[in-house]
Symmetry: C2
Subunit: 485 residues, 2 copies
Amino acid sequence: MYDMTIRLQTDSSVCLYEQIYEHIKREIRGGKLLEGERLPSTRSLADYLQVARSTVDYAYGQLLDEGYIESRPCKGYFVCPLEEVLQIEDREGTVKKQRAVVSPDMHFPKEEAEQNKMLYEYDFSPHDIDMSGFPFSVWKKITRSILTDANRDLFSRGEPQGDYDLRLTISRYLHSSRGVNCEPEQIVVGAGNDYLLMLLEKILGRHVRIAMEYPTYGRSRQIFQSFAYHIVTVDMDENGMMVKQLDREDVSAVYVMPSHQFPSGVVMPIGRRLELLKWAYREPGRYVIEDDYDSEFRYHGKPIPALQASDEQGRVIYLGSFSKAIAPAIRVSFMVLPKPLLEKYRRDCSFYSCTVSRIDQSILNCFIRDGYFERHLNKMRKMYRAKHELLLECLKPFRNDFTISGENAGLHLLLTSKKNLPEAELVRRAAEQGVRVYGLIDSMKDAEACKEYEDSRAGTILLGFGALNREQIEEGVGRLHKVWL
Amino acid sequence: MYDMTIRLQTDSSVCLYEQIYEHIKREIRGGKLLEGERLPSTRSLADYLQVARSTVDYAYGQLLDEGYIESRPCKGYFVCPLEEVLQIEDREGTVKKQRAVVSPDMHFPKEEAEQNKMLYEYDFSPHDIDMSGFPFSVWKKITRSILTDANRDLFSRGEPQGDYDLRLTISRYLHSSRGVNCEPEQIVVGAGNDYLLMLLEKILGRHVRIAMEYPTYGRSRQIFQSFAYHIVTVDMDENGMMVKQLDREDVSAVYVMPSHQFPSGVVMPIGRRLELLKWAYREPGRYVIEDDYDSEFRYHGKPIPALQASDEQGRVIYLGSFSKAIAPAIRVSFMVLPKPLLEKYRRDCSFYSCTVSRIDQSILNCFIRDGYFERHLNKMRKMYRAKHELLLECLKPFRNDFTISGENAGLHLLLTSKKNLPEAELVRRAAEQGVRVYGLIDSMKDAEACKEYEDSRAGTILLGFGALNREQIEEGVGRLHKVWL
């Protein structure tokens, strides 16, 4: 129990002890002070309210007498169990209401998504990852080693862009694993991609006309919408965004996921990438936002460097995150700014403090620098590859009725109905079997923009396998077999 | 060392092993691969690049022969020390440049502020706090208890507003210590006030005309400027913002710090608060942003509840933070939204993920809920009260030449020259003595807006004492005595 802030009125006809007594009684009745909660000691409350100790003593005494609180020897004063308080109210003749002091979860339901999960036995979410592989003991070991007195300065405010050591580690990781060329000064560390996009809005400015693929990642689309950016939708072919369409549009920014487009799973080949860069080079002030959200997991073909690696004129803004590769709770993302934008960042945004605590930055830095991240990635790649192969195997009987795509990388596949079954129907039938699947259109979270798409194409379903184990994949697909074929 | 992303060209006349060899050589020469760094094993690199293992073996062999890398038994291949590489370059007849591979800190100087600290022996920063009181062992204990396998779900994505448990704890703490009335649903947890203001921009919208006191907190002013908000400056008297002036201005929002205004230290009395609320009630859509940044530390008079506690119509947006009371690195702030804005938040912002990791949220929740925070606050109050009294005592000889104000609360005092010595002169003289003090005008970070103020008033200095110990306060003030009196 903290101090209790009571507004005492010294000029009131009600004496001070009574004001304190009435306040606490009201708090207990109103459910603001809960059963078993300790009240401040009389001395500390008297100190805090700047009244004589006897005043508080007297108020507590009255509450004790009336059974609102109880005194436990050597421990202090505690709020009495609820029923006893209600009995007082009964005695006082007030109506015994059904009190709203039950488990907090019952009052404030968790997000809909959380609730829905309870109804499904198998959830093929394309966003969930396998947390069973999380290196818990290593994470604990690093945390312990960082939380030592010697690191006391970690509790001070750090650099706005993130600690230099972490940025150096990220720049080296990006270079070796993604071919990204950058200095640590170009990196801005932030708590999640959403936040970094908010910063980017401050850098790129308002009224930006931005091109996005169709379909695209719904969350990013929502965020650009919340910036009131003018969003231009560009069609995709099997090589990704049809860059030629950009010439017809008056846009200065493009958002793409070249390594593994969400939701389509398309990997943009080098020819198309160069075409996109050429578009950017043609006019000053044109930028490409590359969201490299799950580039770590690739099952076929050679590794493909990031688009940023091919950019020779500083037109690519690279966004990466550790949410997929480590854990969603590791709220560390980063943005690599090309040098011209770096100057704008420094001028317009460098007063925004870093949103990641220095302790978390240090833990992540050790995790990457000391090789644990590489080991973790190798382990996860193996796990996901095995699940990926199993899912493809289980889906063999579906190949007559569905086209399977997006199978080169990432944590989900796409199934498109050859019989033109609509998306909503496929989702509904799966739900009947206790299986949650995700419609392509639904994943875009923008019913209006999807209207045309919906009408013109057969239903496409995203099947994510990240968080499911072997049995769940087999059984889940088995149930889909019953209702989809 | 992670995998190495090399773009191999299968249609090139240069054979694969040579492409790998050339790539690694270039990386070592360019300082991208550093001395002592381990290369991937030949097997893993071959796997990763999807080439035969013998191809990588051959490339490594060549690098070994030429002295770029060395083989350590049972450990793998490592990049050779720099001098050896440079000797190779000499042998090859290239010009021996001064290589830029020194300590990273030498390349990328830390922030100016950090550098300046080196030049001062005593820094009276009004923003720094005493970290020696940080309960390190408790923090470690809680962290250890939270990082157990049983809490594996903490690594999953949490609720956008922050975890319910933490919001419940904060709402109860706010109620008892600050008189704030709110439900956990009204609280939005975020990584720092800056971020929460960014969210608030999405809720309040653009083109907002906002009133701020003069002088005010420079960082908040910068942030509202970066939103392109129209900022109206309102004068202060000894009771804070002169609310009557608001009637002349077309504004819909007001930013105030009623519990302890920064930088003036003024505490807004209840009469002025009610006047401010009345202003808000007069038109729909008017809001007061209450920044309660350091309300925990108060030295005289009774505790004063937050302005939010007096608001009966849901017009106060309450901002709080644990940066001052615990540590700046605890990047957890919170915003209490009045119910009408809560609906807007849910509609327009609830897709922004929470910027604080669930682990950090849980640690803080335990820290508050289990009473450690209260104990910590009591300890810090005592420490700061002692420093505050010492500083006032040391400043006694200054009372002829300076007016001392803002002494009721917080971690800084204000000294205003009675002899009209300008701020810059006072700062300069202090610096000569190795003492860093902060000018009132300078603290506002807005030279233009300050012009008028500067011309019309005597110099005022902020003396922060949070981070200084007794000796530093005594000696620091002693040095000021030499040059200010």
